[in-house]
Symmetry: C2
DNA sequence: CTGAGGTAAGTAAGCACTTACTTTTATCAC
DNA sequence: GTGATAAAAGTAAGTGCTTACTTACCTCAG
């Protein structure tokens, strides 16, 4: 059951720890399921670093500490391995999915859902959006592989991108959009297309994570150095003021009042 | 000057129009500069579609209608070709570039700058952000290659991503941040970190373009089908309401005179 | 008749994937 | 407990194809 330890000092010739093997020495022999899972994990890491096309099966084998043929014993083709990654990433984080495709629960949305729905029941708008933003950012930060893998997948035209959208983004748009519509009916929010609100908010959050991950890596973080909590709070504050109904009519834009002064012959 | 046409009907054997050659038959003989530029353009398109690693020199040659050896007569290595692309995409539009095709748009920030700065001088916040959003989205839509190339570049760790950030994003953060800070000093905007505002706003805009380009392509556009103008208007509305200074009693009057009321505990 | 634009046909290295073979280990009659 | 055994985990050394890049040659404008 537990990982190896049965024969660590054994033969010794299996995997020289001198180079490579950054992930796991993985020296000993493994049960098929273990090995398969390990290969998937290694492949996820490498694909997220270099893309599907940019990663060779040889590299995966080396990083996993086995020969290339092992990869092809567990996965018929490289595409097959990619498919396994989709299964893995689509359900791995729920913890309730060893490998079976039976999970219908999308991990990302599921992680988001609980705290957000709880806040929704209380009608606490601030908590809703703050929890949403924070959960998303935390997810991106805890699992930076995921964003990269997703972007590679979208750019390279693989299925993961579409699956992610259907299982996560679409769900989010639906249930957040529904909430916003409900709050509008109650007069809490002004009349904007709820989907535009979702797009604007999740866009700010996702873009923030993406820029952090691609251009402004973690320790230095020189472009915009704020905690996820601060970011969630500020983004939420902007959005809530931006869509709340009782807001003071915004600003000089309402120039129909100011007929007197500077009417620059603008458009109607 | 003009593209070929000198010997289209000539030999006939050069480029069979039966397959490939989606871009340009490019049959005849070209001057070196012409050919070089054409190769760069073709390569930009292919790299943006499949990434640097995912595009072969053979494909580039075929799409350009020449033999592979021609690529390597003009560019020592594939990396060299990539470097030429950087020049092309990063400065081709400034006009200050070796082989700048004077025809195309100015670079990103330059395109944004003119309308936005004009609105800034008028102090028309709405126009500032709307013009910014609209110019960005229009740029992304007119040149969808660019976003894809940029993302590939960032993911694959090429220089273009860094150069783009330094030459465009950083500049935008600076000069929009400065504007916001100025408006805060005048009491028009509440006290938020200007960089957070820039991140939130450009994030929403960029994310919108990215989702449109990767998940919701143009003709159908089923996830969120709005024009760039509408999107710019809505995003701007949300942002401006979101960061406008608190006006407890709605005071549409010029705020710079009214030192008394507003000015909450803002300065450090 | 020279030199620049262009090509066909390479080359060595790298790719996804196989084949033929060698351990290791769980199992079960004894 | 043994030890024969079958199945599975593992490997070394390929296979044929593709890749970035070269070499040797051609062709035609000036």
């Amino acid at each position: 059951m537990s990982r190896a330890t049965t024969r660590d000092g054994g033969a010794g010739a299996a995997a020289p720890p001198s180079q490579a093997a950054q992930t796991a020495p993985a020296g000993g022999r493994m049960a098929a399921d273990e090995r398969r899972l390990q290969i998937v994990r290694v492949a996820v890491r490498l694909f997220s670093e270099r893309g599907f096309r940019g990663t060779t099966t040889k590299e995966i084998a080396q990083a996993a500490g086995v020969s290339e043929a092992i990869i092809f014993r567990h996965f018929a083709t490289k595409d097959d391995l990619y498919a396994a990654i989709i299964d893995y990433k689509a359900c791995a984080r729920t913890g309730a999915c060893p490998f079976a495709p039976e999970t219908e629960q999308p991990p990302f949305v599921e992680a988001v859902r609980r705290p957000v729905e709880e806040a929704m029941r209380r009608g606490d708008d601030r908590a809703v959006f703050e929890a949403l933003a924070l959960t998303m950012m935390q997810h991106h930060q805890d699992d930076p592989e995921f964003l990269r893998l997703l972007m590679f997948s979208a750019l390279e035209g693989h299925q993961l991108a579409q699956i992610f959208w259907d299982k996560n983004a679409r769900v989010l748009y639906d249930f957040l959009g529904t909430y916003i519509r409900e709050r509008q009916r109650r007069g809490a929010f002004r009349d904007v297309d709820p989907l535009v609100v979702v797009r604007a908010f999740t866009g700010g959050v996702t873009h923030h994570s993406l820029v952090n991950s691609l251009w402004d890596p973690d320790p230095a973080r020189r472009i915009l150095h704020i905690t996820n909590e601060e970011a969630a709070r500020e983004f939420t504050e902007i959005l809530l003021r931006g869509i709340s109904a009782d807001a003071p009519a915004v600003k000089p834009a309402r120039e129909r009042k100011r007929t007197a002064a500077v009417k620059k012959g603008k458009k109607k």
